[in-house]
Symmetry: C2
Subunit: 590 residues, 2 copies
């Protein structure tokens, strides 16, 4: 059973990504290191004792749909209410609306824990948080007054409605319509699919944020507006009032996250009393909906990245516990009684260490992205720009690298369990199933790679990314100068990986500058992987230098000597793979 790794999380936040330094600089109000510990401890307790025990049963029972309503698994509604009563929903929410205004770092760290307990549970609040951010930043004062406090407390939950059958990665194809009523409201019509937590019984109202087109809006993405569409329209007192014409038509039968209802939503079908059309309110400006949506999507991308970290951590813990208990054969050098724990066999050890090292690397990247957001919020001018660019740079890596390693770790976790891993009751298989959605939603990992290459590498005239790589190089140098025992060739390997990252970066920047878009896009996915491995290795090195303990030093070394040699091959694919990729189109036609 999952136990929240509170110490490791605190160490990563404070020593690796810079929370301690930020506190020292007084960036986070009266937040103290002790308060951080207290928050993480309590979140860890809740995730370990309350969320995790309901995760597997929730998967088995799943969310159930009947007559437009969704019933969540037994005990989940109570769990959610205990969770919001703990104040967790508003942890990093806006203070003006009842939030605690704590750093995003703490929000992300606690989110990791909920998701390790159950991704299906952690997902709902992630969506609500996105809605809070979009409203807080783009909503009118009237909308904020009615909705924000309830969304921050968690009394009501929020959703994001983007996808339609013909419009997934490409929102230009979106068709949902919004017709102005004349009183400041709009009537929304259309079908949305894959709407997470679009319907459920956790809360007595649900606040949908819906992308739709106004009449005569320009075609493409410049003609999309964002609307707030509540399930129940609040009355003058802000209480839930009459039923809006926004209904869940069905929920999907999915590979994983069975307890998270994935809804097809129908707006304006005339199922509610009165004239057809779901009543909605504009959020932000007309035809600027995509910009508003990106506010929530960027943070949602980091949140999805954390799902990858969370699953990898849960898979690692489960596999380690099994491997320490299960005995088969005799490992080389084993001198104990009877059979060895399988954890002593080199191949199993390699698998466990791979899981652990990738998890730590991905965690540091994701937390670092949260740190950059907090730094941006707590600074101004060029400093704020710098940190916002840092967050922009790290977001696609935090999303894609973490969720890819989430799938890998979950798969290795099943493997370590042997035949038992394939049995659903063991609980390793559910992680393998749940993990598979994260590389897909909130922009597939392929889209993340394109975003990284085409939008993030050009930041600040192409210089921003090199400033980041320079920081990572300083970590490698600090490790080299640390005189820590047991480092082996860690520093050399890290230097080589960072040189590969730098070389591949310059190659892609040149390809973009030369207008060779196909070449740049062909290398995007291997480049993102290279970025994740090289930066992850640097963060592990930073942790080793800060912690100076055998566990961190040896893990950084394992990562450097066993995992990041792949960087050279990845750079090669970035720089030399495009031509053969294009040429092999013929092989797909045969």
């Amino acid at each position: 059973m999952y136990r929240a790794p509170v110490e490791e999380i605190a160490f990563t936040l404070k020593q690796v990504v810079g929370l301690e330094k930020g506190i020292g600089e007084g960036r986070f109000g009266d937040l103290s290191s002790d308060l951080v510990d207290a928050v993480l401890q309590e979140a860890g307790r809740f995730a370990t004792d309350e969320v995790a025990p309901l995760g597997l049963a929730g998967d088995r029972q799943g969310a159930r749909f009947k007559d437009g309503s969704v019933t969540m698994p037994d005990g989940w509604r109570d769990l959610y209410h205990r969770w919001i009563e703990g104040g967790w929903n508003g942890l990093s929410g806006p203070v003006d609306f009842g939030g605690q205004g704590l750093p995003v770092m703490l929000g992300i760290a606690t989110m990791e824990m909920w998701n390790s307990g159950s991704v299906a549970f952690g997902l709902g609040p992630t969506l609500t948080q996105g809605a809070v951010e979009a409203l807080d930043k783009h909503g009118s004062d009237e909308l904020k007054a009615v909705y924000l406090e309830k969304l921050v407390s968690g009394e009501w939950m929020g959703t994001m409605n983007l996808t339609e059958p013909q419009a997934g990665s490409d929102l230009a194809a979106l068709r949902a319509r919004a017709v102005p009523v004349g009183d400041g409201t709009y009537r929304i019509f259309g079908q949305k699919i894959f709407i997470t937590y679009g319907e459920h019984d956790f809360t007595d109202n649900i606040v949908h944020l819906v992308l739709a087109r106004l009449p005569d809006a320009p075609a493409g993405t410049r003609g999309i507006s964002l609307f707030l569409v509540p399930k129940f329209i609040p009355d003058a007192d802000g209480k839930r009032g009459r039923r809006n014409d926004a209904f869940c038509h069905s929920i999907e039968h999915k590979l994983g996250i069975h307890a998270s209802p994935t809804c097809t939503m129908i707006y304006g079908d005339g199922r509610a009393d009165g004239e057809p059309g779901a009543i909605g309110w504009l959020v932000g400006e007309e035809n600027r909906g995509l910009a508003c949506m990106f506010t929530m999507m960027n943070n949602a991308r980091l949140a999805v990245g954390i799902e990858g970290v969370a699953i990898a951590e849960a898979a690692y813990q489960k596999a380690l516990a099994y491997a320490n208990e299960r005995r088969q054969g005799k490992a080389p050098g084993y001198t104990g009684e009877g059979m060895s724990p399988i954890a002593a066999h080199p191949d199993v050890k390699r698998n466990l260490l791979t899981m652990k090292a990738l998890t730590q690397a991905a965690r540091a990247i994701a937390y670092s992205c949260a740190h950059a957001l907090d730094m941006a919020h707590s600074s101004e001018g060029t400093e704020a720009t710098f940190w916002q660019e840092r967050a922009n740079l790290l977001t696609p890596i935090a999303k894609a690298f973490s969720t890819d390693i989430g799938v890998e770790a979950a798969s290795i976790g099943v493997q370590i369990h042997g035949g038992m891993g394939f049995i659903e009751e063991t609980g390793a298989a559910v992680l393998y199933r749940d993990a598979r959605i994260a590389p897909i939603y909130e922009g597939t990992n392929g889209i993340q790679a394109i975003d990284l290459v085409t939008r993030k590498l050009p930041q600040s005239g192409g210089e921003h990314v090199h400033a980041y790589i320079a920081e990572l190089k300083a970590d490698a140098e600090a490790l080299r100068n640390s005189n820590l025992p047991g480092l082996g060739r860690t520093a050399d390997r890290l230097d080589a990986a960072l040189a590969d990252l730098e070389g591949a970066t310059r190659f892609l920047q040149k390809a973009l500058a030369d207008g060779k878009m196909a070449e740049a896009l062909s290398g995007a996915t291997p480049y993102l992987r290279l970025f994740g491995l090289a930066s992850g290795g640097a963060y592990l090195a930073r942790g080793a230098v800060a912690g100076r303990d055998v566990a961190r030093v040896s893990l950084a070394r394992f990562f450097a000597e066993n995992l990041i040699a792949e960087c050279a091959a990845l750079r090669d694919r970035v720089e030399n793979g495009a031509e053969s990729l294009e040429a092999a189109t013929a092989a797909l036609a045969s």
Copy 2:
């Protein structure tokens, strides 16, 4: 929907692994190239039109257990009977007992097709075939007379009973007991788990092959004997007679292959009439059961490898069809109307080509292993030894590399489908679920890697593997000399990969010779992967030289320029990874 790739399969058999040459040498009786085509065509039709359409529904319904009986999904019993009526069960079975005695190559190629249609369906006959081989090689004439014809025709099915709760990878811990009755039979007692097709309604008898210990047998693996235990004891006429004390206690609730019943079997619990104890007959000699079991396990390992190929092929086809149909965004250079098919986006193209190239590579390796078995059967003396060693060498690679890439391809397949891939009805998810068992059963892939390094590399004083690598090098050389257009750096890349394979091989052979077992075992898994990639690249090159078509040439190039650069990193892990792996044990304890 899956369409059997009959042409590609025939090409691989004939041109890549040597079926055509073997026919020319008269090794396979009156088998002609045309007959091969006819067999593959008909198998392709059956797999495409009959097996595949029932696969997804079978997954959804699953095998159902009640009161000791298992009901298979709707239509599956009929499907099985149409399949055995087609003579498919005995395709490469012994002629003396009604089999067609065709090469293992054809058996494996057709098995690929059944498994692409449905692994859960293909699995049952795989087990029966293992039972046929064990009985044919080790059974007494009396046992053969009663059982072989029925097992070859498929009228009865067979099972393999090895695993017990405490004895999985390590059979030394096995506890099931066999007590001699005095009349030549034995009474078997014990519990076996994870017994595939241990109970079902396909056939009116099931023939279990069960490992158990005789009284006073030596401890460990030298005290294990093999017994044949029929569900119903045949009467004097060979018809099924009274119920034996061998019962299915329950079936597992699994991640995948839902329609394949995975049974807990209880022997000798007294549930049948008469004295407790399941009646069994010894197969082979007392205490030599493991040797008998290895006969069936080796071929079962190749068969499981084929499951990986089959799933990868099915996943590729499904993803390609979706990617050609689904339109989103505009790919670079796309000049068509509206949105591009997603297959035109470089990242999706990379994913599709990765699936296809890995599938072809794994197929060639697996077929090559089957070819070696056929060559061994059709030769004598040192030639037979040579080919048997070749089969021995390739078996762990065919099993582990193929099943690893099966999981990878199935995962990429889900990814290409985007959100739709996560919906069970789409049929991509079931492949991801089904694929996950193959790296586990018939010896985990970690065990395969250990087998490769510790048992196969030392064959013929360490020289056998180098003869094989020399053949692969000749393929690279032939490609270099082919003057085919569009090869890019294929030959250089292949040379480098094969040099890495050779270097890593010599490193491991030296480690073994020096008694550095932990070092050798630490590198086993990356070495197996290196072996699969480098040899797979050579087979693709061989196919390109033989086929001289753009599709094969460009695919070989894609593989060489995009996938096998990883070989250098793998060699590095083999040669330099062990120390940091051992040192990082500390990280698992923290």
